[in-house]
Each structure stands twice: as C-alpha cells, then as structure tokens.
C-alpha cells in the first residue's frame, strides 16, 4: 500500500469507531421493526445521515482492506483483475446501499 491508501485506512478507521457504535445502536432498533417502522425511522435525518456516513466510510475502508489482502496473496495478471473486481464490487455496493437509503429517506 502507498501512503495515500495507508492514510485513508487510518482516517476511515478513526471515523468508523463512533459511526459503528451509532450504527449498531440504530440496527438494534431497526431489526425489531417491520417494513413501515423501518421506513419511518429512516425518514428522520439523524439516523439516515448516520447510515449514509457509515456506509461511505465503511465501504471505502473495506475496499482498501481487501486491496492489501489481494496484494499479499495474489501475484501476476490475476492481481490486476482482482484489484479491479474489488473496486467495482465496492463501488456498486456503496451506490446500491446509498441509493436505497436515500430512496427510503425521501419517499
């Protein structure tokens, strides 16, 4: 990993300490609720923004972490493909989660 990645891993890890505690607190509440109950909570700005921040920081952190795993264990041409697949998977997952959260929040 280069310096940029290492700094981003540190930055997101620090951000994720409070965000994870907030996320777990939110999910304890949400996992007890039904469809309408979950949607009602996520129309409020604080839980919605908490969730958006957790998803963003979490998926950036996850993508960087998997990058270092790939670089450690995979060599040659497969490494490039694995790195590209990792970035694409993380980007699609982040967009899907952010889109779904915003859709609940605004409808």
């Amino acid at each position: 990993m280069g310096t940029t990645e290492a700094r981003l891993v540190h930055l997101t890890s620090l951000a994720l300490v409070p965000l994870t505690l907030g996320f777990v607190w939110l999910m304890i509440d949400l996992l007890r609720k039904d469809y309408n109950g979950v949607r009602a909570v996520l129309t409020h700005p604080i839980p919605a923004i908490l969730l958006l921040a957790f998803i963003f920081a979490g998926i950036v952190h996850m993508e960087l972490g998997m990058r270092s795993v790939i670089v450690d264990y995979i060599g040659g041409h497969s490494r490039s493909w694995a790195l590209a697949a990792n970035t694409c998977f993380a980007a699609l997952l982040a967009l899907a989660c952010l889109y779904a959260t915003l859709r609940v929040a605004f409808t």
Binding site: S13, T20, V24, L31, R32, L42, I59, M66, V104
Partner: protein, 136 residues
C-alpha cells in the same frame, strides 16, 4: 547502479508474503490473522446490510423475505457472526491505532492488548445481543 527490475527481459517472479509456517505462533500473530479474517468476513457480511436496505426501499413483500431470513436459525447465526466480526475488528482496529501511535509495543503489554482484543470483541458482541434481545 540499475536495479535488476529495470533490465529488459522476463521479469523475476515477485515474492509473496507472508511465510506463516516458519514463525512460532504468538498471540499477537493470532490476533493479526483474526483481524484479517474478521475484515474479510465483514466484506461478505455487508451484503446483509445491502439486502436489508434494498428490501426496505422496495416494498413490504421484499422486506418480509429479508425479515424471514434474518429471524430464521441460519439468519440469526449469520447476524451473530457478523456482529462478532464487527466488534472484533473494531477493538482490533483500536489496538492498531495505539500501536501505530507508538504505544503498547513492549513485551507484556502487546500480548495483553492482543488478549483484550479477543475478550473485548466477544464481550461487546454478547452485550449487544443481550440488549437486542431483552431491552424493549
């Protein structure tokens, strides 16, 4: 002086890390491996969050499919393991932040911190599940 990598011709295969088999196992090593395993587990576990959010954004019947899975035996086991991976990785991350800042690298403390990761991660998981299952 030119590096051999810069010379034309076929590239030497680059070394891959790590060579786990030549080290005597230690607690810090075990927790380093556990940090990576829990991280990779969360990479998969986040799909549960994606499913939850997509189902909640779709319609009541999609959400019912998610609810049915997460309250099933397999779903609860998966949720428990993801909770454990999350807290293990969180506490392990705090340990790495301290180590990166230069604290806790001496012989007795670094092993105590490795044990604290294992115990703390599991304790927080149990605490959250007790709150989740009892507090209304």
């Amino acid at each position: 002086m030119a590096s051999s990598d810069a010379l034309p011709g076929p590239r030497r295969p680059r070394p891959l890390s790590p060579h786990l088999s030549i080290y005597r196992p230690t607690m810090t090593m075990a927790m380093s491996i556990a940090h990576r395993i829990s991280g990779v587990a969360l990479y998969v576990g986040v799909l549960l969050l994606a499913w939850f959010l997509i189902a909640a954004s779709a319609d009541a019947s999609s959400f019912a499919v998610f609810s049915g899975f997460i309250s099933s035996f397999v779903g609860l086991i998966a949720l428990f393991l993801v909770t454990w991976a999350l807290f293990h990785h969180l506490v392990g991350g705090l340990r790495h932040i301290l180590w990166d800042a230069g604290y806790g690298l001496d012989a007795p403390l670094r092993d105590q911190m490795a044990w604290a990761t294992l115990i703390g991660g599991f304790a927080l998981t149990i605490l959250v599940w007790i709150i989740g299952l009892t507090v209304r």
